[in-house]
């Protein structure tokens, strides 16, 4: 064995072993459990083949949860990045107040999602919540609503509180990306007669593509594993209208105590995550100027 290979093994061995212990092994165990009728408290389990997956895809609650997660991820791929990029560009253009504004805008990302949830619960309160108070103050009492209890508004209400925080994550990354764009390129485009919109579409956006890939990947991961905020705000209610897949897994495992089915749904979520992240990575590399 070459000395370099030995060194490589020495340095790579521990992280690979750690990765195997905390990622590969649990995934393999979840895979095994998903083919059994294991219950959380049960001492034994039987092999039932694909029954859990069949149930997962035919169960209305699971299908609804998959739909909610996909809608959430889709909106998540649009709203927070768009907001983050807009704010980042405004901040970059106005350097005078940028430092103060950045400090203020960084606050949401430093707050735990549970705290975010508590703050937004108050904002959405039916009686004395901020939104309803504002609506009342401008004479729009008819629009006042129990935002988190109404089945048609609850999902969007929770999503907005999540997007509020994720937009800051996008903004931070886009700010870093914008500062790395050579000003000569922007100036050259302007000299060539490009307007603001054209500079944005033809120069800035393409150059931000690697950052956009990172932003979308992080936000997609946060969308797909979203549990804390939903648990804190609604626990999946009202009537399972905000039950994202991680929330559903929690419910199947801890409330219904069906470990096999919970593992199967977890694996479906795992595959969804792989597909989304794989697709984003492919998209990022396909048109990246870095390549």
């Amino acid at each position: 064995m070459k000395p370099t290979t030995r060194w490589a093994l020495l340095f790579m061995g521990p992280p690979i072993a750690l990765f195997a212990a905390i990622v590969v092994l649990p995934t393999a165990m979840a895979l095994r459990l998903s083919f059994t009728d294991a219950s959380l408290l049960g001492q034994s389990s039987e092999w039932i083949g694909l029954d859990n997956f069949t149930e997962a895809f035919t169960n209305d609650h699971v299908r609804k949860s998959i739909r909610i997660t996909l809608v959430w991820t889709l909106f998540g791929a649009v709203v927070p990045p768009a907001l983050g990029l807009t704010v980042a560009m405004v901040l970059q253009a106005n350097s005078r107040f940028a430092a103060i504004m950045k400090s203020a805008l960084f606050v949401p990302i430093s707050i735990s999602l549970v705290v975010v949830g508590q703050v937004w619960i108050w904002i959405y309160q039916p009686g004395d919540g901020l939104i309803n108070q504002l609506l009342g103050a401008v004479g729009l009492e008819s629009l006042q609503e129990a935002w988190l209890a109404n089945r048609s508004t609850a999902l969007y209400a929770v999503f907005i509180s999540w997007a509020w925080q994720q937009a800051v994550l996008a903004m931070i990354l886009y700010l870093a990306g914008l500062t790395s764009i050579p000003s000569e390129l922007v100036e050259a485009a302007r000299v060539d007669g490009a307007g603001q919109l054209q500079v944005f579409r033809r120069v800035i956006l393409p150059l931000l593509r690697p950052i956009t890939t990172v932003v979308l990947s992080l936000i997609a991961i946060n969308s797909l594993r979203n549990f804390d905020l939903v648990y804190a705000m609604t626990q999946g209610g009202p009537v399972r209208e905000t039950e994202t897949m991680p929330m559903l897994v929690w419910r199947i495992l801890f409330r219904q105590q069906e470990q096999g089915l919970a593992s199967a749904v977890s694996l479906i979520l795992f595959v969804m995550t792989l597909v989304v992240i794989g697709g984003l990575t492919w998209w990022g590399r396909r048109g990246s100027y870095v390549d």
């Binding site: 219950s39 408290l41 039916p126 129990a146 988190l148 209890a149 929690w250 409330r255 219904q256 105590q257």
Partner: protein, 457 residues
């Protein structure tokens, strides 16, 4: 080659040095701080280690002090009041050292399952009598506590219904520690303003009283069903009072259907009350404490809740009788027996308990009437031990105890009466009902399909 050897030694020495420092540090901890052992140190291990060490004058008192050793205790009384109550009860246990791990009520439901499944549960843990304990027992995670029942003579000192609530598989597995009574808790000031001096005892009287209250601009019923379970009491009582405890037991065990006329009748009565505008708007937007606040501040007249609400109200400075009181859920069919409803909190002994001997002694301590009274007074519960000095209970709690005694039977509330996976189905149904009662026939059909699947496992 020489350079290589030096390089290897260069790597080796700091590693050895760090290892030596860590080992020395660990050794010091053990020598200097025996009292600061983590909860994982089991008393059962102590006698085995003792002979290896020469007995010294300093170790003897330490062993005496430990007595039966450490007993790990997990419980769901996470509020300040609950934590203090358990500490106060444990402080008088002289036989060993109870190492307590309080966990917030909702989080406990998950945490204890993880601990049990992982084989590292606390020796003793609080749990809810009924289907939840049955589920843990069925999966072999409990051991019998017959010795504690015998020593404390639970058989004769506790009412039969509460003794039965602790018996699973023919043997005692749960020691009742406190129980609660569900009733209409009301604001006497609101009732007086509505001109209600006699509390309703029949369905018609309840409806009339609700109309009277609503006429004053106050909602008769507060309900906070955001986290589902508070709505269950309405379903429980409407079924118990119209179809009786036997039918309800069949429904809870899967022998009856959610599409039965009995269930339809109960839901229709509930719908009539909702349609009449008697419930606070957007019940699914509020938690039970919000509902308690709505009654306390006069936005609503009453709420159907357990006696634990008295602890909450006492905590915000309300006075029993003057500021709050209760009346029983009215009789809807005189031919049907008077069933009381509520949860029973108890203590269970893990099958994997590290110190079963110490745990058994602690359970005997928990069965003591004085300790049960301490807990009941601090927590707002009712003491299961009949020898507890109940003259110390506040008048509202004393009245609740009398009402339980007068009841023909005692039933667990819905989520403790049916297996956990089925309870999920019903709790969903109740929340959906409060969202839109008009579609309750659809809810019955989907609940029956889901319950059937859950019973089938």
């Amino acid at each position: 080659m020489k350079i290589r050897k030096k390089t290897r030694l260069g790597w080796l020495l700091p590693v050895l040095a760090v290892f030596a420092i860590v080992a020395a540090a660990c050794g010091d901890d053990e020598a200097d701080e025996p009292a600061a052992q983590p909860a994982t140190t089991t008393a059962a291990a102590a006698p085995e280690e003792a002979p290896e060490e020469a007995p010294t004058t300093t170790e003897a008192p330490a062993e005496e002090m430990m007595g039966l050793g450490e007993v790990s205790v997990g419980h769901y009384y996470g509020s300040d009041l609950g934590q203090q109550g358990i500490l106060d009860v444990n402080s008088t246990w002289a036989d060993g050292d109870a190492v307590v791990s309080p966990i917030e009520h909702e989080a406990f439901k998950d945490q204890i399952l993880i601990a049990l499944a992982g084989g590292e549960p606390p020796d003793v843990f609080s749990y809810w009598a009924g289907a939840r304990t049955q589920s843990v027992y069925d999966n072999g995670h409990l051991q019998p506590i017959t010795a504690a029942f015998d020593e404390a003579d639970v058989w004769n000192n506790f009412p039969q219904a509460l003794v039965d609530a602790g018996v699973y598989g023919g043997e005692p597995h749960l020691l009742p520690f406190g129980f609660h009574y569900v009733a209409f808790f009301y604001n006497p000031h609101v009732m007086a303003e509505a001109g209600i001096t006699e509390m309703p005892t029949t369905g018609d009287e309840l409806f009339a009283a609700a109309e009277q209250i609503a006429a004053t601009g106050v909602k008769p019923f507060a309900l906070g069903s955001q986290f589902r379970w508070p709505a269950q009491f309405w379903f429980d009582f409407l079924i118990l009072r119209t179809a009786g405890p036997d039918y309800r037991a069949q429904l809870m065990s899967g022998a009856a259907s959610y599409e039965d006329p009995e269930v339809t009748q109960a839901l229709q009565l509930w719908k009539d009350l909702v349609d009449a505008g008697f419930f606070i708007d957007d019940a699914n937007a509020y938690d039970w404490t919000d509902a308690a606040d709505q009654v306390a501040n006069g936005e609503a007249a009453m709420t159907l809740m357990g006696t634990w609400i008295t602890g909450y109200w006492n905590g915000i400075g309300l006075e029993p009788v003057t500021d709050y009181d209760f009346f029983n859920f009215p009789v809807l069919n005189p031919a049907i027996e008077n069933a009381a409803l509520g949860p029973i909190d108890g203590w269970a002994l893990s099958a994997d308990a590290a110190n079963p001997e110490g745990a058994m002694s602690l359970l005997v301590h928990y069965a003591d009437p004085a300790n049960q009274l301490t807990w009941a007074l601090e927590q707002g519960a009712l003491p299961p031990n009949s020898n507890a000095d109940t003259t110390q209970l506040n008048p509202v709690m004393a009245k609740a105890l009398v009402e339980v005694g007068k009841a023909d039977s005692y039933s667990f509330n819905y989520d403790l009466a049916t297996p956990p996976p089925v309870a999920e189905v019903g709790l969903d149904m109740f929340q959906a009902f409060m969202d839109d009662p008009s579609s309750f026939a659809d809810l019955q059909a989907s609940a029956q399909a889901d319950a059937q699947a859950a019973f089938a496992g």
